[in-house]
């Protein structure tokens, strides 16, 4: 059974992010990486990916709606077991244990995320829609699926939701109706319809650590500007990554287009000899 990481990058900015994320994977993991994109990848970064794939077919070119293409990843992936990662992430540890853990699942979604201080996010600032509409609190920034009938059925429903998102959101998100489609919401609605959130999440384990850096959920009193303007970051020469003097582990979702710094790229490139 093959397994690997998969990125979907629609736009040059996302391709750049995916290259950095792929570098971060490479430094700690010996697992295949693929990217699905219609954009060009700089030659020096092409070697990071085992497969550079064209999207199967595109229906949505407007970037606000390109998310609606993401249900196709299930059909597009070259792997039997896939971890889909948002491009704006850094993988900061070896994830072999995670792969082993995911063997218990057909599909796995996060239903909790962490602050950079390793506390579980309890602030519902960005999650009022889920809470108010009684939707499973799923995060799609990192998710796993096995090619199986159960997963196929799930993604078939996600396809239906994606193609009719306004109708489904109108039905399931009566409060806080979103202006644009969101994969988190579409996956949650699918899970609600199938009543399978217990099968695709785990409330107990904390080692699957996904640090979410949206600024309003960091338990800060004063939230102004970007999170990286407020708290210091440091990447050591051996690629240990610190935020506010906290060593980061797991997957770090920096969630800000302005975070990428030249010196982070350079350190990863130097480490990998790119």
């Amino acid at each position: 059974m093959s397994n690997g990481f998969l990125f979907y990058a629609d736009g040059n900015e996302y391709v750049t992010q995916a290259c950095l994320s792929a570098m971060s994977i490479k430094t700690k993991n010996d697992v295949s990486i693929s990217i699905i994109t219609k954009n060009k990848i700089l030659p020096k970064y092409q070697g990071l990916f085992d497969n550079i794939l064209e999207p199967l077919w595109l229906e949505h070119d407007d970037s606000r709606y390109s998310i609606l293409n993401r249900w196709k990843l299930y059909h597009n992936t070259p792997y039997d077991k896939t971890i889909v990662l948002d491009t704006d992430t850094l993988v900061l540890q070896n994830l072999n244990l995670w792969w082993k853990f995911f063997e218990n699942y057909n599909l796995f979604f996060l239903n909790k995320v962490f602050t950079y201080r390793s506390t579980i996010v309890t602030d519902n600032y960005y999650r009022k829609l889920f809470e108010t509409n009684h939707l499973p609190n799923l995060y799609s920034g990192m998710h796993y699926f096995l090619k199986s009938q159960k997963s196929k059925d799930f993604f078939a429903l996600v396809e239906l939701i994606s193609k009719n998102w306004e109708m489904f959101y109108g039905q399931f998100c009566k409060e806080y109706y979103p202006k644009y489609p969101s994969m988190d919401v579409s996956f949650s609605i699918a899970s609600k319809i199938l009543d399978n959130d217990v099968e695709i999440t785990n409330n107990i384990v904390n080692f699957v650590k996904f640090v979410h850096m949206k600024k309003n959920i960091q338990n800060w009193k004063n939230v102004t500007g970007e999170w990286h303007d407020k708290v210091g970051t440091y990447l050591s020469p051996n690629l240990d990554f610190y935020v506010g003097n906290y060593l980061q582990t797991g997957i770090f979702h920096y969630a800000s287009k302005n975070f990428l710094l030249d010196n982070i790229f350079k350190k990863y490139e130097k480490f990998l000899g790119i």
């Binding site: 201080r117 960091q218 800060w220 009193k221 210091g232 506010g244 003097n245 906290y246 060593l247």
Partner: protein
């Protein structure tokens, strides 16, 4: 294994910390039945003011004013710079006084005990909870969580060292055993203190004066490998405190009465009493007034 309490008492121009230490040592003896040692630069004053102090204290450890050796006691540079901080006596009265708190990192070296409970002198001990720390396996115990008796105040500075910073730990009460790991901890603490400007900058601490709570918090964070870890475990019971905006009104055996700052009414207070609760009393002026009253009654 020898067990005991260690106190640091260094007076400034207005606050008699040795008196607090004397009062606390007596309560420790009565309530916990443990010996107390004191580290002080006011040995002569202590002996003059409290003639029975050698009975109250197990050991009186003088601060040695030398930079060469700490074999006989605690070293302190003659060039010691005192920090100054604002001391309040309720919501209205306040004054800036010397804050001589730079010696706590020597506790591992100077303690005569294998198992030491290091206490601030402004603790009013009223129950036996602390005896349980000697029964626990954890070699380093300290409070992270705390409870403000006034209830309404913003206590975020006692949760993290600043808005974006690391977890806050109270150096007010610390239990430690003589272990190699704890030796490393206290050496690290000294290193942090010696290089305070650097650490203050790295950990984005804005306070002008050195605070043991911050140095301990940084050292624990480093001992935990810059992440959440289990180097420090929580002391038994809970840490209750009143700030220096509250007034300690009366201490009668194990009953302690406060005038607690009233929300939105400067200069007004709420009267409240607690029985059998150990409390960290930050208003030193009012604590000393209560101690004077208590000592007179004895």
């Amino acid at each position: 294994m020898s067990k005991g309490i260690l106190l640091y008492a260094r007076n400034n121009s207005k606050i008699d910390y040795t008196k607090q230490a004397y009062f606390l040592a007596k309560r420790v003896k009565n309530i916990l039945g443990l010996p107390t040692s004191i580290v002080t630069d006011s040995e002569l004053y202590l002996k003059t003011q409290f003639p029975d102090c050698e009975k109250v204290f197990d050991k009186i450890i003088p601060i040695v004013w030398s930079e060469n050796s700490n074999i006989d006691g605690t070293i302190l540079s003659k060039f010691e710079n005192h920090f100054y901080k604002l001391y309040r006596d309720g919501t209205i009265s306040k004054q800036k006084l010397a804050f001589k708190n730079q010696l706590r990192s020597s506790a591992y070296d100077v303690t005569p005990y294998n198992e030491t409970l290091l206490l601030d002198t402004d603790i009013v001990l009223s129950n036996t909870n602390f005896l349980h720390c000697f029964e626990q396996k954890n070699n380093f115990q300290i409070y992270h969580e705390s409870f403000d008796l006034a209830g309404f105040r913003d206590y975020s500075e006692f949760k993290y060292i600043n808005d974006i910073g690391i977890k806050f730990y109270w150096a007010t009460i610390v239990f430690f055993r003589k272990t190699e790991e704890n030796k490393i901890f206290f050496d690290l603490l000294k290193h942090i203190q010696d290089n305070w400007n650097h650490y203050k900058s790295v950990f984005q601490i804005n306070q002008s004066y050195f605070r043991n709570d911050h140095a301990f918090s940084i050292a624990i964070h480093i001992m935990n490998g810059y992440t959440e870890g289990d180097f420090a475990s929580s002391l038994p019971g809970k840490l209750y405190y009143t700030t220096d905006k509250d007034i300690c009104w009366d201490i009668d055996k194990n009953k302690i009465t406060f005038l607690l700052e009233k929300e939105n009414y400067v200069g007004e207070y709420t009267l409240a009493s607690w029985n059998d609760v150990t409390i960290h009393v930050m208003n030193k002026f009012s604590l000393n007034r209560c101690i004077d009253k208590e000592l007179k009654n004895v």
